[in-house]
C-alpha cells in the first residue's frame, strides 16, 4: 500500500511550550487511521501541524510524496486535504450554501456537485439558505464534513467528529464517514474515546505527551488492557 | 517556601528604595547638564517659542523664518552693541502644556535673554506668568489682548498686531459702511472673546445692534447647526476664526447663500494661511481687517521686498515652489521684535539680565520710524499696557484677490490702556 500522508519526527511548539515531541505516523490509501489519546497530549496540534496552522518546527510532512512542511498554510487544503476541526467551526454568519462554496478555490479543482453532497447529507438541501449559526449541532457537523468534501479531497482530517452529538446522530455521522471512505478518501481521525472508532478504523495510534507510544489494529488494542489503561485510561 | 517569599519581597523592597534614591540623586546630574549649555555669555541669545508643528504650523513656519532673517541682518551688520546674536527655537507643537514647558526650556536650558512668543493663546496664557517668574522679557505674538492684560506683567510686551486696534479702527468703519445689525460667529476661545467683547460696545455706541453672539468650539468641522442660528435680518456677519475651520466657515456660509443676504466681515485670521485664489470663490466679497497686506503691491518698499525674498514668496505671498501661503498679517512682527530688542539694548546699554529694568524702561514709550528695521510702518510701544500702536488696513476680497481698500494710520490713543504696568516693579 502507498502511504498518502507521512509524518516524520514532527516537533511543534506553541509559543514556548513544546507540544509535539517527534510524531511519526503514516496514513495509507483508502485507510481510516485513528489517533487516540487523552486531553492535551497533542492530537489536535498534530492535525493543525499538518494543515500548517501551527507549523512544525522540526521534522517533515509528506503528502502524496510531496514535502508540505514549509509551504504556505492556505495552499495545503488546495492539495486535497480536507479538515473538519474540533467544534466544527463552520462559518456562523454565512449561509449553508456559502459555507459549501467557500472551499472551492481556484478553477482547476474538480468539485463535487451539490447532488453528490446531498446524497450523503440530504438534510442540507433544505437548509441551503439558512445561516450556518442557526443549524443544530448535528447539522453543523454534517455541514463541516460536507464543506471539507466539496473540493474533492483525497484525505480528510477529522477532529472528534462525534463530540457533543446525540448517540443517534453520532452513529449517523460515523456511517457517513465510512461511506465517504469507501469512495477512496483516506481519513485521519483524532478521537478521545476508543469505543467510537474500534469498529471503523483500520489502524490506531496512541499518543501521549506529544509522542506516538503504540500502534496497531483495533483488535490488537482491545486485547491489550494495560496499554489502554496507561494511555487512554478507559474502563471498557 | 515561606522563607523564600520573604526574601524576595525584601529584595524587592531594596529595589524600591534604590529607585527612590536614584531619583533623588538624579538632580545633581541634571544641574551640571544645564551648566554645560550655559557656556560663556558672549552672544545675546534670542529665543523663539514657535508653533512649528501642530495645528498652527502654517503660522509658525513663517514666524521662524522671519525672525531668523532679522537676526542674520543684525549679525551681518556686526551684531548688537558689538555682540553677536544667537537664535534658538523651540516648538510648542501648538500645545499649551508643551508650549509653556518650552518657554522654560528656552530660558533655563538654552539661556535665552529675550523670548519671542507664540501665536497660540494657550501657551501664551501659561507663558506670561512664567516670563515674569523667570524675569525674562517676553514678546507675545498672540493677539488675544485679554490674555496679556489679565495675566501679563511688566516683562511682557504685546509683540504682534493688536486686536483691539483692529476692532477700534475697523468696527466703526463697518458700522458706517456695511450695516448696523451685527451677528457674531466666533471661536470659543480668548481671541474670539476679545473681538466680541471689544466690538459690542462700539457697535452699540454708534447706534448699531448686536443680534446674536454664536460661539463655536474648537474642532468643529460642520458649521451648519450653528449657521442655522444666525438671525436672517443680520446685515453684517462678523466671523472670527483661523486655520482649517476658517475655511470651513467661509465655504459653508457661501454654500447656504449667506453671502448674498448679508455682508461677511471677518477677522483676518480667517484669510490667513490660505490662498484666496484657489478656494473657488467662497471668500468673495468678504471684508477683513489686517495688520499687513499679504500682497506686495500694497506695501512695496525695498525692505519688504528683501524680507519676502528671504522668505521665498512671490508677489502674491505664495511660497515659490511650495504650497505654503504667507501669513501676511503676522510674519512681520517676529522680524520687528528682533529689532525692538536691538533698539532697546542700544538705548539702555543692556549687558545682561541684570539690566532688564533699564531695558524695559527704554522700550516703554519708544516710537520708531518705518525703515529697514520696522517694515510695517511707524509705530509706538505704549508705555502703560505694553501694546504696540501701528497701522492697519481694511481689505476686501474682489475676484478672489485680497485688495486692501483703506489704510488706517495709527493714532496716539485709539483705545485707552486697560492696565498700567509702569507702576510694577521689575
Amino acid at each position: 500500500m502507498d502511504s498518502i500522508l507521512n509524518l516524520q519526527e514532527i516537533h511543534t511548539f506553541y509559543g514556548k511550550s513544546h507540544i509535539l515531541h517527534g510524531i511519526t505516523l503514516a496514513v495509507h490509501e483508502n485507510e481510516i487511521v485513528c489517533l487516540l489519546g487523552r486531553n492535551g497530549v497533542g492530537k489536535t496540534t498534530t492535525l493543525k501541524s499538518i494543515m500548517g496552522l501551527t507549523p512544525a518546527n522540526r521534522g517533515n510532512i509528506f503528502f502524496q510524496g510531496r514535502d508540505i512542511t514549509r509551504i504556505q498554510d492556505y495552499l495545503i487544503p488546495r492539495l486535497g486535504i480536507g479538515y473538519v476541526p474540533q467544534g466544527r467551526h463552520i462559518f456562523p454568519d454565512l449561509t449553508v450554501r456559502e459555507n459549501l462554496k467557500i472551499g472551492i478555490v481556484g478553477n482547476k479543482v474538480q468539485v463535487k456537485t451539490y447532488e453528490e453532497i446531498f446524497s450523503y447529507f440530504p438534510i442540507l438541501r433544505e437548509r441551503l439558505n439558512q445561516l450556518g449559526g442557526t443549524l443544530s449541532g448535528g447539522e453543523q457537523q454534517m455541514l463541516a464534513l460536507a464543506r471539507a468534501l466539496v473540493p474533492n479531497p483525497t484525505l480528510i482530517l477529522l477532529d472528534e467528529p462525534t463530540e457533543g452529538l446525540m448517540p443517534r446522530m453520532a452513529k449517523l455521522v460515523v456511517e457517513i464517514i465510512q461511506k465517504i471512505n469507501r469512495t477512496g478518501v483516506s481519513i485521519l481521525w483524532v478521537e478521545q474515546k476508543l469505543v467510537t472508532v474500534t469498529e471503523v478504523s483500520h489502524r490506531i495510534h496512541l499518543i501521549s505527551k506529544g509522542r506516538v507510544e503504540y500502534q496497531g489494529t483495533p483488535g490488537e488494542l482491545i486485547q491489550n488492557r494495560e496499554i489502554q489503561l496507561r494511555y487512554i485510561g478507559v474502563k471498557v | 517556601m515561606e522563607k523564600k517569599k520573604k526574601r524576595i519581597s525584601r529584595r524587592r523592597f531594596l529595589k524600591a528604595m534604590g529607585t527612590g534614591a536614584a531619583l533623588l540623586s538624579a538632580e545633581p546630574f541634571v544641574r551640571p547638564l544645564g551648566g554645560f549649555w550655559a557656556q560663556e555669555r558672549s552672544p545675546i541669545i534670542i529665543g523663539h517659542q514657535c508653533d512649528y508643528t501642530g495645528f498652527l504650523a502654517g503660522w509658525g513656519y513663517w514666524m521662524d523664518m522671519a525672525a531668523k532673517y532679522a537676526i542674520k541682518l543684525i549679525n551681518d551688520a556686526g551684531g548688537i552693541a558689538g555682540r553677536k546674536v544667537e537664535y534658538v527655537m523651540e516648538d510648542t507643537a501648538s500645545d499649551p502644556a508643551t508650549g509653556t514647558r518650552k518657554l522654560r526650556s528656552l530660558i533655563q536650558r538654552l539661556n535665552a535673554d529675550f523670548v519671542i512668543g507664540c501665536i497660540h493663546a494657550g501657551p501664551a496664557t501659561g507663558s506670561l506668568p512664567v516670563a515674569k517668574e523667570l524675569k525674562t522679557v517676553y514678546f507675545m505674538q498672540s493677539s488675544s489682548d485679554e490674555v496679556i492684560t489679565k495675566f501679563g506683567s511688566r516683562y511682557t510686551f504685546m509683540g504682534g498686531g493688536v486686536e483691539l486696534s483692529k476692532i477700534n479702527y475697523g468696527v466703526p468703519w463697518a458700522v458706517k459702511n456695511l450695516g448696523k445689525k451685527f451677528t457674531f460667529c466666533a471661536y470659543d476661545m480668548a481671541w474670539g472673546y476679545t473681538h466680541v467683547n471689544g466690538s459690542t460696545p462700539i457697535i452699540e455706541k454708534m447706534g448699531g445692534k448686536v443680534l446674536d453672539k454664536i460661539f463655536i468650539p474648537l474642532g468643529t468641522k460642520d458649521f451648519y447647526p450653528y449657521l442655522g442660528k444666525i438671525p436672517p435680518e443680520t446685515e453684517v456677519l462678523y466671523g472670527v476664526f483661523s486655520g482649517p475651520p476658517a475655511l470651513g466657515f467661509l465655504t459653508q456660509t457661501y454654500e447656504i447663500g449667506l453671502h448674498k443676504k448679508m455682508k461677511r466681515y471677518v477677522d483676518v485670521g480667517v484669510m490667513e494661511g490660505f490662498n484666496t485664489e484657489k478656494i473657488g470663490g467662497v471668500a468673495e466679497d468678504c471684508w477683513y481687517m489686517t495688520f499687513f497686506p499679504r500682497r506686495l503691491k500694497f506695501k512695496d518698499t525695498e525692505h519688504v521686498r528683501n524680507l519676502r525674498k528671504a522668505l521665498n514668496v512671490d508677489e502674491e505671498g505664495v511660497e515659490i515652489g511650495g504650497p505654503q501661503v504667507l501669513c501676511g498679517s503676522r510674519y512681520w512682527a517676529a522680524y520687528e521684535n528682533v529689532f525692538w530688542i536691538k533698539r532697546a539694548i542700544e538705548k539702555s546699554g543692556w549687558k545682561s539680565k541684570k539690566d532688564n529694568a533699564a531695558f524695559i524702561e527704554a522700550l516703554e514709550g519708544m516710537c520708531v520710524k518705518e525703515g529697514l528695521e520696522f517694515i510695517q510702518g511707524d509705530k509706538c510701544m505704549r508705555a502703560k499696557d505694553h501694546f504696540i500702536l501701528h497701522d492697519l488696513w481694511m481689505g476686501h476680497i474682489e475676484n478672489n484677490k485680497m485688495e486692501e481698500k483703506t489704510k488706517f494710520s495709527f493714532k496716539e490713543e485709539p483705545f485707552p490702556p486697560a492696565v498700567d504696568y509702569t507702576k510694577e516693579k521689575v
Partner: protein, 288 residues
C-alpha cells in the same frame, strides 16, 4: 428662519455628515472585524485621500479623475502598510494600537513636510444651490450623500456577491478555519485593509470641498468614527451605517434646541447608556 426649517436643515445635514462618517467607519469596521485592531492611523487615510486629491487637482484640474485616483493611491499605501508594518504585530491588538499611532505620526508629518501646515480647499466640481424652504442648501452636499449611498450599496454587493467578499466575511468569522479551507487569509487581510483605506480616502476627498484640507484633519474625525464602530457593534457593517447616521442626526436635531456642545455631550451620554445595555452594539441581532 423658522424652527422647522432649521430642523429640516439639520436633519438633511445629519444625513450627509452621517454618510461621510459611514464611509470612514465602514473601512474601520472591515479592518476591525478582520484583525481586531484599533487602527488609529485610519484617520490619516481619510486625510491622505483629501491631500492626494488636492495635489491631483492641482496638476490635472480634474476633480473626477482625482476622486478615482486618490483613493486608489491611498489604497496602495494601505496595502503596503499592512504588509510591511502591521503584519508582525497583528496578533497583539493593544500593541497594534501603538504601531498605528506611530504610522499616524509618520503620515501626518510627512504630509506636513511636503504640503505645509496651511489649510487648502478643494473646489467643488460644480456649484449648485438648492433652495429648500427658503433657505440655501448646497447641491454638492446632496451629491455627496447620493454618491456615498451608492458606494455603500456597492460595498454591500461586493461583500455579498463576489468571491473575495465571501472570503472577507469568512476570514472575519473564523480566521484559522478560513486558512484550513484554502483561503489566502493574509492576502484577504491585505485587500481588506486596502479597501478600508480606499473608503476612508474617498470620504476624505468627498468631504474636502465642504470642509478644508489640512494635515491634521484625520485626528478630528477619528473619535467619531471609533464611536460609530463600537456603537454599531464591532464588525457589524449595517450597524456602523446605522450608527453613523443616528449619531449625526442626534447631534443635528438636538442642536436646534440646545447648544451644540451640550447636544454633543448628550448624544455621547446616550450612546454610553446604549453601550452598557447592549454591549454588542445597538444594531446587532442577539445570537445564541
Amino acid at each position: 428662519m423658522g424652527i422647522e426649517v432649521h430642523l429640516f436643515m439639520n436633519m438633511m445635514n445629519g444625513l450627509v455628515w452621517g454618510l461621510i462618517i459611514a464611509l470612514i467607519a465602514l473601512g474601520l469596521v472591515l479592518i476591525f472585524g478582520l484583525i481586531k485592531i484599533l487602527n488609529i492611523s485610519h484617520g490619516e487615510f481619510y486625510m491622505l485621500g483629501a491631500i492626494f486629491g488636492w495635489y491631483l487637482i492641482q496638476y490635472t484640474q480634474n476633480f473626477w479623475l482625482a476622486l478615482v485616483l486618490s483613493p486608489l493611491l491611498v489604497a496602495a499605501i494601505g496595502l503596503f502598510i499592512e504588509w510591511g508594518i502591521l503584519r508582525p504585530t497583528e496578533d497583539k491588538p493593544i500593541k497594534t494600537l501603538i504601531v498605528t499611532l506611530g504610522i499616524s505620526l509618520i503620515l501626518q508629518y510627512t504630509v506636513y513636510w511636503f504640503y505645509g501646515g496651511s489649510p487648502q480647499r478643494i473646489v467643488e466640481p460644480f456649484q449648485y444651490h438648492l433652495t429648500l424652504f427658503g433657505s440655501g442648501y448646497s447641491g454638492y452636499r446632496i451629491f455627496v450623500a447620493i454618491l456615498s449611498m451608492a458606494v455603500i450599496a456597492l460595498l454591500g454587493l461586493f461583500l455579498q456577491k463576489t468571491r473575495i467578499g465571501l472570503w472577507i466575511r469568512a476570514v472575519k468569522q473564523d480566521q484559522e478555519m478560513a486558512i484550513a479551507v484554502g483561503i489566502p487569509t493574509k492576502k484577504v487581510i491585505m485587500i481588506t485593509f486596502a479597501l478600508g483605506s480606499f473608503l476612508a480616502a474617498l470620504g476624505g476627498i468627498l468631504a474636502a470641498p465642504i470642509f478644508s484640507v489640512d494635515f491634521l484633519m484625520g485626528l478630528e474625525i477619528l473619535p467619531t468614527a471609533f464611536m460609530v464602530v463600537i456603537i454599531g457593534g464591532p464588525g457589524n457593517l449595517m450597524g456602523a451605517l446605522g450608527a453613523s447616521i443616528l449619531i449625526a442626526e442626534l447631534e443635528g436635531i438636538s442642536s436646534v434646541f440646545v447648544s451644540p456642545t451640550i447636544s454633543r455631550v448628550l448624544s455621547l451620554v446616550l450612546m454610553s447608556i446604549v453601550l452598557l445595555k447592549r454591549p454588542e452594539g445597538i444594531f446587532s441581532r442577539a445570537r445564541r
